[in-house]
Symmetry: C2
């Protein structure tokens, strides 16, 4: 038995006018619920500190940069780090990262129980577009404001197991889970901000969006025999709805905890990382079953090439 008691701390909407300090106070309130329940790890969503700003088209880079963090932790989030260290609980959350040399990433971090940052991930699969798109019902400008992550899909020895991270749209790509799976991942953490309607297809609404969301998480978990924890920022931000549906998925692909609201909400599950062993040693024993001699185009070719 290698139980890890996990809290998935969904955040409700964060309006444009809300300050980081106000948001961190909400995060600490969820954290305290998780500490009360005995969690070992609390996972918060993608871009947890602000509204989902890539929906806004901006041309002034100085304005864009106001949504980014230049240090982590910084003064606004220090109270959360302090509270986590006091409680001896690991945390993970996402934020917009501006590096000292001027690079912009959609980033998440993992701390150990002492509040030290032990893992950093930068979002690889940026969705959306980079110029204003009048055809869309709303903008999704991640390709404008962020560079693709440069750290790949790493895993870390943490909490008695092998932990990986990815962010939002990464979860739709089987390559994301497989790269971590090939490193033995047992627990994948991810946050997301997912609009409730497809910006390019108005008839694809919340039911379909939640269906796709669960589908890819459950498949990724099953096909790599890993737990997956997916945490939403949900609800209506400045008039733009985001799905909820935060879930904890077991290595069999089953949802074992799921949020019920689109507000600040904690869900928890005790995940025994030894539950990953059966799948990894039988049907998904990669060493016995994978046939890399037939997979070549996956890494040699980015787009579709017809024979």
């Amino acid at each position: 038995m290698r139980p890890v008691h996990i809290g998935a701390a969904q955040l409700g909407p964060i309006q444009k006018a809300e300050t980081r300090e106000e948001v961190v106070a909400r995060m600490i309130a969820l954290f305290d619920q998780a500490a009360e329940k005995g969690c070992d790890l609390v996972v918060f969503p993608e871009l947890a500190l602000t509204t989902f700003f890539p929906r806004w088209y901006m041309t002034d880079q100085a304005e864009v940069d106001t949504w980014f963090e230049t240090e982590m932790p910084n003064a606004a989030v220090q109270p959360l780090f302090d509270r986590a260290r006091e409680a001896n609980i690991a945390i993970s959350f996402g934020f917009a990262e501006l590096t000292p040399d001027g690079h912009h990433f959609n980033t998440s971090i993992l701390t150990d129980r002492t509040g030290e940052i032990v893992g950093k991930y930068r979002k690889v699969h940026l969705p959306g577009h980079d110029e204003f798109d009048p055809e869309r019902a709303f903008q999704h400008l991640e390709k404008r404001y962020f560079e693709p992550g440069d750290l790949g899909f790493q895993v870390w020895n943490a909490l008695g197991g092998v932990v990986g991270m990815c962010i939002c749209n990464d979860r739709r790509w089987p390559e994301t889970y497989r790269v971590m799976g090939l490193k033995g991942v047992e627990l994948v953490l991810l946050g997301y901000n997912t609009p409730s309607v497809n910006s390019q297809r108005s008839d694809e609404g919340p039911a379909d969006r939640l269906f796709h969301h669960r589908l890819v998480l459950q498949a990724g978990a099953y096909q790599n025999a890993t737990f997956v924890v997916a945490v939403a920022k949900a609800g209506v931000e400045d008039g733009h709805p985001l799905i909820g549906g935060s879930v904890i998925v077991d290595p069999n692909g089953h949802v074992i905890a799921e949020s019920q609201t689109e507000d600040d909400e904690l869900i928890t599950a005790v995940c025994d990382l030894d539950d990953t062993v059966f799948g990894k040693s039988t049907i998904f024993d990669f060493a016995r079953h994978r046939r890399i001699e037939h997979y070549g185009v996956i890494t040699t070719q980015t787009g579709v090439v017809r024979d």
Copy 2:
């Protein structure tokens, strides 16, 4: 609009004593139903001509070879080919292939509307084991009787679209769909023989088996914006139960037709291959979104390597 009217012709159990001629008569009966409904293509399961013989442990290669076909078509299946040509309908089915130079494959074929074989696939991901395993509730000796396929995951221009094939356990591997997806696949055909209970975990029964089955098909369809047609051999063969659950899945990942029995049963759907365009040109526009610089281990590494 590029509609293809597809019939998925599930077969109920084939007992060990049943002859190929008897089975082909059942296949023709299903084919005739499909012709009546106006199908363009009829898809039959994996190893459609015999019982699922890899459940039997055999040491005499001459006995093993009695389950294999040395020609395709051969006398036993010629009536099905004749009927298909007369009706101007394409067919696909699986069989055990013994090549002139002595190689054994788990194979499927696709014909055009004139009964010419235009595509051949040999199963890449062989499940199970190669020696008698006393720990298992029953044997699953595909690794004993077959070699891994040597043709990779090809696609063919057929029926006005891009068609690919895989077989049974291949469907659990995201690499299967992705290799075909990178070749522009719009319709994936597959058959399966899936025991209703995990031979190594007795508490994983039909509900879980069907859940995993649908999960991987639906994810593969959605993540590559392709139709997937999955056809069972179902029911109790010589005391060994196989799941049913034949389905046709659309490029959004939704099941649009599903079998209700574990017997011979035809399900049909009109699949407009143009429904693949939206996904392939937006969220799964591979050329815009894939990041192969971070996928390396998928093709350089077969098994798990811990950092």
